[in-house]
Symmetry: C2
């Protein structure tokens, strides 16, 4: 094995993101749920993910860098369900031009499962739909059966 191959293996350096979105301070346990919520597996642009990185705030955190991808507020706020303290850096021309936080929306469509096994959404092909009755405690009220799904019962579809 030659020396340059050695150097390559020592460090995964990712080219600077010229423009795009960095999602930081994702709890490590939520990283792949964020991938699922934002459908990042369907992207064809460059994406870098680090997970279980050390974090003073979170203990362990994840970070996602998305080249040439930007989100509307309603798109990115969905991740607040699982990553309420996530921080967004919007990058243009290699510079951070905007910093944003995420906020749980008032309604959640098609992301979370209803905790009630008898709910129509768990038995028919009906997209889940919830009103957020408590943003602080992440309590979701099902539009169909009206049962409350709590934070610790939350499963991402």
């Amino acid at each position: 094995m030659n020396k340059s191959e050695n150097m390559k293996d020592k460090q995964l350096s990712v080219s600077a993101i010229k423009e795009g979105t960095v999602i930081d301070h994702v709890p490590a346990s939520a990283l792949f749920k964020v991938v699922s919520i934002l459908k990042l597996d369907e992207l064809d642009t460059m994406i870098t993910i680090g997970n279980n990185l050390g974090s003073k705030k979170l203990g362990k955190k994840g970070i996602i860098k998305l080249s040439r991808v930007f989100f509307r507020d309603d798109e990115i706020n969905k991740i607040a369900l699982v990553a309420p303290c996530a921080k967004l850096n919007i990058i243009r021309d290699y510079e951070v031009v905007e910093k944003k936080i995420v906020e749980i929306p008032d309604e959640i469509i098609g992301i979370a499962k209803c905790v009630n096994p008898k709910c129509i959404t768990n038995n028919e092909n009906v997209t889940t739909r919830f009103t957020v009755v408590s943003k602080a405690e992440v309590k979701l009220k099902c539009h169909y059966c009206e049962k409350i799904t709590n934070r610790d019962e939350l499963q991402i579809t």
Copy 2:
């Protein structure tokens, strides 16, 4: 925004992996299926993922670096279902000590869905089980209903 913050945003450099496994040459469309097959969302060790990176061989590829994680052959070979040309670099003390390829196993348990909607595995709580009847063409024969699931019908559970 200060200068050091600027520098941080320009490059995601990940500390050298002292020991672990690098999975390279994963087709971009298969990257998150590999995450699912290997249950990488359940890890608590550091993981770095790049996807849709340029590749002469594959057009676009994904790469996964797993700190302090090693796989038995039977564990890692499962990914050959979706990433038949994946290359593994085993890292010890910052050096590549071994290079491996993956090979589709003879039997696939609990990873793929049976293409037959009437199969018991799609209707009862029964773990899927297949014999690989063609490794070259990725043809899986269901242990229960004996239907063949082809490569293009393959869905990861």
